[in-house]
């Protein structure tokens, strides 16, 4: 997935001189996760450069550049570090088009690694998507595989408004299914690891049915897509797994169709439970297909605690917990 993200940069930077890339360690070194590796050497220091350790500065400067007419794609080293930039994102980037009635716009992409699973402790593991989906004017995207990562990132950079692009860091090097005790499987052994060369986009706001099934719908995104797949295999439950890919805008139609078909729904994400994006999903499902539901919607999420270091695997919602939630919804007959 790292290569796919890097490739999306190359495709857009080659095609569009307005695309500039900057952030902490992204220039000469190519990023701590290597997603911008070689961009500076290939495109020069005017197109890809290092930034001071100042997230509000990175995003604030990107807004100014975008107002000038560029299309900055910036990296926040970890989603856990984005909070100093929150004001610039929420009060500025998200509202600039609206408050100026289209006089100024902020077509910027803000990439950041999200989620846990790498023993990152509380400051390298968080999943803050819900604090962005709550804000009008932001598009929030989260891929679960290399093919989508490249197509979604190109679509995000092409987009005329700010996009929060969350990269599940545990998926950078392989389709992690939650079985941390097992050997890492590389993307090269996975069908979604195959990434076409050149330009293509995955549209923002269109979900992907990761696994077709009939017994229960699992609404999820990012790392948990693969966890849900493992849970379905291990429980033998014929789950339909929806990879949302984009949280705002949200593909309500695909969600509704699936739940109408299965009559049961599990919502799964790594982020904390309370006011998490799962709450929004539950609300949408009951609003549209309450009378198709044969059981209460189950939610599987991270606990409402800070993300722990040593107890990471007790926190992470792995296949056992997702499987148990599927069973619970099926038990109601």
């Amino acid at each position: 997935m790292v290569e796919a993200i890097r490739d999306a940069h190359i495709v857009t930077m080659e095609r569009d001189e307005r695309v500039v890339v900057f952030g902490q360690d992204v220039g000469y070194f190519g990023g701590v996760f290597r997603c911008t590796h070689g961009l500076q050497q290939r495109f020069g220091k005017d197109r890809c450069f290092d930034a001071p350790i100042n997230e509000s500065g990175i995003v604030g400067a990107a807004i100014g550049m975008a107002a000038y007419g560029l299309r900055p794609c910036v990296e926040i080293q970890f989603a856990d570090y984005v909070y100093p930039a929150y004001d610039q994102i929420v009060s500025e980037a998200a509202r600039l088009r609206h408050r100026s009635a289209g006089d100024f716009t902020a077509p910027i992409t803000i990439r950041m690694p999200t989620g846990g699973g790498i023993f990152g402790g509380q400051t390298h593991s968080q999943s803050p998507e819900a604090i962005f989906t709550h804000v009008s004017g932001l598009t929030t995207v989260i891929p679960s595989n290399p093919y989508d990562a490249k197509g979604l990132l190109i679509a995000s950079i092409n987009d005329d408004d700010p996009v929060i692009f969350l990269e599940p860091k545990r998926l950078y090097n392989g389709p992690f299914d939650g079985h941390h005790e097992r050997a890492i499987v590389p993307w090269s052994a996975h069908p979604l690891g195959e990434v076409p060369e050149g330009e293509y986009t995955v549209p923002l706001g269109v979900a992907r049915i990761h696994r077709v099934g009939s017994e229960v719908t699992v609404l999820t995104y990012g790392t948990l897509v693969h966890v849900a797949e493992a849970a379905a295999a291990e429980t033998g439950i014929d789950a339909e797994i929806i990879d949302l890919r984009s949280l705002v805008p949200l593909d309500v139609e695909t969600i509704v169709e699936s739940v109408r078909k299965t009559g049961r729904c599990v919502v799964a994400h790594e982020a904390t439970l309370t006011s998490g994006f799962g709450a929004e999903l539950c609300a949408i499902v009951q609003e549209h297909v309450l009378w198709s539901l044969e059981a209460p919607i189950a939610r599987v999420t991270g606990w409402d605690t800070p993300y722990p270091h040593a107890h990471e695997w007790d926190y992470f919602p792995g296949p056992a917990r997702v499987g148990a939630a599927m069973r619970a919804t099926l038990a109601e007959r």
Partner: protein, 415 residues
């Protein structure tokens, strides 16, 4: 309780909570204000090393002396026609403010912010820039917009949130936006625009353009982290930007001491970043223009950012929601040592034989007539109390293309 060791002397620890010299009931006092005599501060070449002008961060550059003569090395950037134009700009801002305060009292708008006493800073600065340079203003730089020739009626339409409001009733009054006039959309947040201006300037330089940016912030908001973000980015990349601090002494009721303005000048903030930093009499139109032109020339010559502290005074209330008599002496504005920018420029022109009271009164009358006509035209398009843009438009411009969920909500709202 733990025992105190001998080397701390056993003293309880305490903080300094800054306090202005004068509060309501006290005689106004500006004894801490460092003022140089006009013409005394040197004018270095634009390629001077910032480290060689650290004295200019503490001095005060002034051109107009007490008699009204233009003196010293910073004098002579403007001819008489340009000075008359500058006077007209400032008089327009002042009259516009007065008219809009009246409109507020009449209920035509919910809110207004005047710039009384600070007109020279934005009016003279704008004249020193090119028309296509981009300013990132605060809410008290209406002088930039008026000087750039933005139609007054558009401003009033915005203030009235009427059917012709260019911002469609979305923004608090005075939060204008006009890319065509080099005026970035005002946020209403404090300080966010300072780093954005640096980003705009970086974008211009990355694109090989020749346009520069001008960033604006008040003394109080220099305490915001975005101020420091701007300083570190501007100095790191040598961005072609002018960093303006308007020190008007008061941030609502908070005196400049809470941004450390009572301990050192704001201009000296630039020294740690290696940014050329100057402190200027902000009520001296000629000094503002000369220093702005100097800084713009530096930026255009790829010599990097310049930080300028404009020392001025907020004569009026912070906004129509504020009453300064609750926190500062009533007669403080009238005792401000740097005087009034309009009066000083007027006196200079009269002393130079380029102006007289009759022409002045005629000029003021013309301006007032122009503003009245603009206000009447705006009122025909409605005021806060009457005609607005369609509320359906609140769903527009959230995104370039309206997504389904907003379309659904617009329908729910009945549009």
């Amino acid at each position: 309780m733990t025992e105190h060791t001998e080397d701390t002397g056993g003293q309880p620890l305490r903080l300094r909570i800054p306090e202005p010299i004068a509060r309501p009931g006290d005689p106004p006092a500006f004894r801490d204000l460092l003022i140089d005599r006009a013409g005394e501060v040197r004018r270095p070449p634009i390629d001077v090393a910032p480290a060689d002008i650290v004295d200019l961060g503490a001095d005060m550059i002034r051109v107009l002396d007490i008699r009204g003569d233009a003196v010293g090395p910073w004098a002579g950037t403007l001819d008489a026609d340009q000075l008359r134009l500058g006077l007209r700009d400032m008089l327009t801002v002042r009259a516009f403010d007065a008219r809009m305060l009246r409109a507020h009292r009449q209920g035509n708008t919910s809110f207004y912010m005047q710039s009384l006493g600070e007109e020279a800073v934005s009016c003279a600065h704008r004249r020193a820039l090119h028309p296509d340079d981009m300013c990132f203003p605060t809410y008290r730089q209406q002088g930039l917009l008026i000087t750039s020739g933005y139609p007054l009626v558009n401003m009033i339409n915005q203030i009235y949130s009427n059917s012709h409001d260019p911002l469609k009733g979305r923004q608090l009054p005075v939060m204008y936006s006009s890319k065509a006039h080099g005026f970035f959309s005002i946020s209403g947040n404090l300080g966010t625009q300072f780093i954005q201006a640096v980003g705009w300037a970086m974008g211009s330089a990355l694109s090989g353009d020749t346009r520069i940016a001008s960033a604006w912030i008040g003394d109080g908001a220099t305490a915001e982290s975005d101020f420091h973000s701007a300083m570190v980015f501007a100095s790191t990349y040598h961005a072609p930007v002018i960093l303006n601090i308007v020190n008007n002494q008061w941030a609502i009721s908070t005196f400049q001491g809470f941004a450390r303005g009572d301990s050192a000048t704001f201009a000296t903030r630039g020294h740690g970043f290696g940014i050329a930093s100057l402190r200027v009499d902000g009520n001296d139109y000629l000094a503002v223009h000369a220093v702005s032109a100097w800084a713009a020339e530096r930026a255009r010559a790829n010599l990097g950012p310049t930080l300028i502290e404009w020392v001025t005074y907020r004569v009026g209330a912070h906004s129509t929601s504020d009453d300064p008599s609750a926190y500062r002496p009533k007669d403080e504005p009238s005792t401000w040592p740097l005087g009034d920018p309009v009066e000083r420029l007027k006196n200079h022109l009269i002393r130079s034989g380029e102006w007289d009271d009759d022409r002045h009164q005629q000029c003021v009358a013309e301006i007032e007539a122009t503003i009245s006509a603009a206000a009447e035209e705006a009122e025909r398009h409605g005021t806060l109390r009457s005609e607005h843009t369609s509320p359906a438009s609140m769903f527009d411009d959230v995104f370039a293309t309206m997504p389904d969920h907003l379309r659904r909500q617009r329908e729910q709202a009945g549009f």
